[in-house]
């Protein structure tokens, strides 16, 4: 982005001036002489006639935030309406708060959120157990449907999982024996 579009960050203006205000286009020789309204790859899904090139509009009534919201740093203001499902909490919540320090353009933002999702899954299990609820994981994963429609596939999956589990167990036992022999 050039200085004509956005004033330099060094001067830290209190109001960011956009291309609509930075330069008086009437003083640019040849301004708009080749403008062609048909040269618009956004037709027909964008109605350019309603584009005022400004970031202000009559805002809807604002919803009152009653839960913790995490707002993208790219937003100028909190959108008028938002969801209130599953507010951030626990360790995953702390990770999500951290992630929102970075913009949507930054990989750290998304990678931390993905990490938080995995942590949140474990938190969900702990939450269930804390409430005295033993989650029926096979049912939650649709194993009954697999049994009904793909018995062979299910047996194969169980076989592979058993084989992997047994291999890991065997390797662990072998390593343990090896270490104890070394200690002797």
């Amino acid at each position: 982005m050039t200085d004509t579009n956005l004033r330099t960050r060094a001067s830290k203006p209190s109001v960011v001036e956009t291309s609509a205000t930075a330069i008086d286009t009437s003083k640019i020789l040849g301004w708009g002489v080749d403008a062609d309204p048909d040269n618009d790859p956004t037709y027909p899904y964008r109605d350019r006639s309603n584009d005022d090139h400004k970031g202000s509009w009559a805002r809807p009534t604002r919803q009152e935030p009653e839960v913790e919201l995490l707002q993208s740093v790219e937003h100028k203001q909190l959108p008028a309406v938002f969801g209130t499902a599953s507010p951030p909490k626990w360790i995953s919540g702390a990770m999500r708060r951290l992630a929102f320090r970075w913009s949507e353009s930054n990989w750290a933002h998304w990678m931390i959120l993905m990490g938080a999702d995995r942590v949140n899954m474990v938190e969900g299990l702990v939450q269930d157990l804390g409430r005295g609820k033993m989650p029926n994981i096979p049912k939650e994963m649709g194993v009954p449907a697999e049994w009904k429609h793909n018995k062979t596939g299910l047996v194969k999956k169980i076989g592979i999982a058993t084989l992997i589990g047994a291999s890991i167990y065997g390797l662990t036992q072998l390593r343990g024996r090896h270490q104890s022999e070394k200690a002797d």
């Binding site: 584009d51 309406v81 999702d117 994963m141 649709g142």
Partner: protein, 382 residues
């Protein structure tokens, strides 16, 4: 009320949750009559969309009967049966004023790149969705549309996403009469995109997938030429050969982040999550379209980045177009198309599932069991 409850990748169940409340003067509460599982819900189910939190209820394709409206909703009343577009749009922001209802700036605090979407992670606003007995519908004076008396409820629920998205996929292709159109993906969106390509005057419609029962369906439904890419040596070479060496005029990516067909993309995008999913369908689309052609993208990808041959986009002079469908914009035309018999969306529904069996439905849809194409949930019974 009973509602779908996400517990982590590949794990969902139905739990009792509090009834949704009016939280904004433009809200409505609807009693859900139909709710679908969408192919893009599988990205959430597979843990591919960042900031998908346990406890959230998914579901962005639903119809319902209005139970209650907020004080600023003057055009709906209790008892109205409405279809609810998956986009949550205010109708008055900079983007909504331009008809970009999938890009509303007043419905999603978590991200600026996407507007609010029902039940689609916090990256899309943190709203609970419609895979529940009741749902909160923000901006109810703008989004929901009364279902005409003559319309089948199954057609109505498919107007909330599948039909407009398939239609917009074809529309963004800029299809001209006689054009060859290739649709990658024979899921519900690809099926509808192939059908709608004819409405724009396509001369030839080809659909590529690897699931035979879906190819067989679209072959008759669209109708279309169909090819299983697992039976082709090289998808792009085949496309060139079948189009006189030129390539297709228009390619549509109706697959998105979970595409099969490249081990590299699968490992990087689906297993290691180092890409925003596997982009092999988009890769093929870019390489199969002719020089100067158009690639229309409605397949859903994550927010980071993907390996695609962007150099070929430049060298071939391609136009890439993509967006979330602006459902509200399409509805009048699509309702007319259904009335005229031009499209018959409900033919795609293969399974009707009680809400309590949602875990089975997700698994079956994910693993393509029992020839499932489109499952519809009945949260409050038939």
């Amino acid at each position: 009320m009973r509602a779908m409850d996400y517990r982590g990748p590949y794990r969902v169940r139905v739990d009792d949750k509090p009834m949704p409340q009016i939280q904004h003067p433009r809200d409505a509460i609807v009693k859900v009559t139909r709710s679908c599982i969408c192919g893009s819900d599988l990205h959430l189910y597979h843990g591919m969309v960042p900031d998908t939190r346990i406890g959230q209820t998914f579901g962005h394709e639903f119809t319902g009967i209005v139970e209650e409206v907020g004080p600023e909703v003057g055009n709906l009343k209790a008892g109205d049966h409405v279809l609810v577009p998956f986009n949550i749009a205010c109708g008055q922001c900079h983007f909504c004023k331009q008809g970009l209802f999938g890009n509303c700036h007043e419905s999603n605090p978590s991200a600026t790149a996407v507007g609010g979407i029902f039940g689609y992670s916090h990256t899309a606003g943190g709203f609970d969705g419609g895979q529940a007995q009741y749902a909160r519908v923000p901006y109810a004076d703008f989004g929901p549309t009364l279902i005409p008396d003559w319309m089948d409820a199954d057609d109505a629920v498919l107007l909330t996403d599948v039909v407009p998205t398939g239609y917009q996929a074809a529309e963004m292709g800029g299809i001209q009469k006689g054009d060859t159109v290739v649709v990658f993906g024979a899921g519900p969106i690809g099926i509808m995109a192939a059908r709608c390509a004819w409405l724009f005057g396509a001369g030839r419609v080809i659909v590529i997938d690897h699931i035979d029962y879906r190819l067989e369906f679209v072959k008759n439904f669209a109708p279309a030429e169909v090819y299983n890419f697992k039976e082709l040596d090289d998808v792009v070479t085949f496309m060139k050969k079948t189009t006189d060496g030129l390539g297709a005029d228009v390619c549509i990516d109706a697959v998105g982040a979970e595409a099969t067909g490249s081990m590299l993309q699968t490992i990087l995008g689906k297993r290691m999550k180092l890409e925003a999913g596997s982009a092999i369908a988009l890769h093929w689309a870019i390489n199969s379209v002719k020089k100067g052609g158009i690639v229309s993208i409605v397949g859903v990808y994550g927010p980071t980045g993907n390996l695609v041959p962007i150099g070929n986009v430049v060298n071939k002079g391609l136009t890439l177009r993509g967006n979330q469908a602006a459902v509200k914009r399409h509805l009048p035309k699509l309702i007319d198309h259904i009335k005229a018999g031009h499209i018959n969306p409900k033919a795609m529904i293969t399974h009707r599932v009680p809400l309590d069996d949602i875990a089975d439905a997700y698994h079956m849809f994910s693993d393509k069991l029992d020839n499932m194409i489109k499952p519809v949930l009945l949260p409050n019974g038939a």
